[in-house]
């Protein structure tokens, strides 16, 4: 028995959690996306924790904590002093400190998802804070957003265009929005989701896994 165990390769030291940012305008569906991502990652055996940067309340954190999807202690709100973009870019130290604290508390964390407080199209994540970041816009916010090429749309690792189910109700030409998103992204990934139902979310999980969880079985 013990010889058989000894024959197994030694487990590698745990490499620490990958940190993934989720940014985008207010109401685009960032928290909803989180709620869709959580059970999928847990089903894949990923050790997960969440940081939310609510603008003025703890509503997002509490919503996720109460969702029953994840141990509420693994969901932490970080206040941003009314500056959501500062907290993920110019001065990400509070988020960094909270992510470090989560990793210290929950050993073997694989992934920390950081939801930014809703911000404008110019908000971007500091690469000192995250390994990978997603920018979530939604179809109902206007099909001109990809065309406007804000820094969020251009420089994120993955652009998620959410709420495609609403296209017929808001007069959005979905094929055209797909085309223009792809043009703006110039070959970098874009995914369309319906986070109300979960359609398209598996592809987001795959993209995150491929990019930052590749050392997972």
């Amino acid at each position: 028995m013990s010889t058989a165990l000894n024959a197994l390769p030694l487990p590698q030291a745990h490499p620490g959690a990958a940190r993934v940012g989720i940014g985008g305008p207010v109401g685009s569906g960032k928290t909803r996306l989180l709620e869709q991502l959580i059970p999928r990652f847990i089903a894949r055996g990923i050790e997960l924790a969440i940081i939310t940067n609510d603008l003025a309340t703890r509503e997002d954190a509490e919503r996720v904590q109460r969702s029953g999807l994840i141990d509420p202690q693994r969901v932490i709100p970080v206040e941003t002093g009314a500056c959501p973009h500062t907290a993920i870019r110019e001065d990400p130290t509070l988020n960094l400190q909270m992510a470090d604290a989560l990793e210290a508390r929950f050993k073997n964390l694989d992934l920390i998802l950081i939801e930014s407080g809703g911000d404008n199209l110019a908000s971007t994540f500091s690469l000192d804070l995250v390994d990978y970041w997603i920018f979530v816009i939604d179809v109902a916010g206007g099909d001109d957003i990809p065309r406007k090429r804000g820094p969020g749309v251009l420089s994120c690792d993955l652009l998620v265009v959410n709420k495609y189910d609403l296209a017929p109700y808001v007069g959005v030409d979905l094929p055209r929005m797909r085309r223009e998103s792809a043009q703006a992204r110039d070959g970098r990934p874009v995914l369309f989701t319906n986070c109300a139902t979960g359609d398209g979310v598996d592809a987001v999980v795959d993209a995150i896994s491929r990019a930052v969880l590749f050392d997972q079985p």
Partner: protein, 243 residues
Amino acid sequence: MSPLGSSLLALQQADSFFPGGAVAWSWGLETLVADAHLGTSPITTIGRRQRGLRHDRSEEVRAFVEGQLRHRWNSFDRAFLDAAWQAADDLQSLMLLDAQVEALTLAEELRQGSRRVGQSLLGVHVALGTPGAAPYQQNILAGTTSGHLPVVQGLIWQKLGMHRDHCQLAAAHGLCTGLVSAAVRLGVMGHVDAQRVLTDIQPLLLELLDEAPCAPDDASGFTPMAEIAVMRHETQNLRLFAN
């Protein structure tokens, strides 16, 4: 004014929390980044736990800041800042200095930037009731002078009681901070590298300040790459900054 009192004023005036409209100006950096003159970041995502390890562009940013500090601020703006500090009680001389800055700044976008930042700084001091601010603003509104940044700094900071060397320190440091902060907002570097660049530039800044400023008649500015970038800025598609 005691040295400590003057230092305290300099800290306040050079603080990026002090509202002076400086956040909106990149002085050519935005165009250089867009044209990949500041190095490029790899398109592909590097993997897990590689935070902060992506292609580091602090060397390029440092070089840009050094160019601006040496060949624009030290040899040009600083001369007018110091002359304005000495002439703070003499409206005619101040306006003459202002006219010289206007005439000697080739690129329209640099001229406009210097004017607009100068005028917003002055506006804050008018609101604060800083002596000398309101009369100078009257002249700008009447169209008799331009309100360029170094002239306004020299005037206002002298009136506040800041020592001559502290004014230069505040202006130089404020310039460096503004440029590095623009680089962070352009996604070129993170918050730690930004502070590293500011630390690395300090010996140069102190070395420059160790020499006396030149006289306005000897002032010169030569930052061709940044100036061309600034001139091309208005035709760029994506513009977060005013220049």
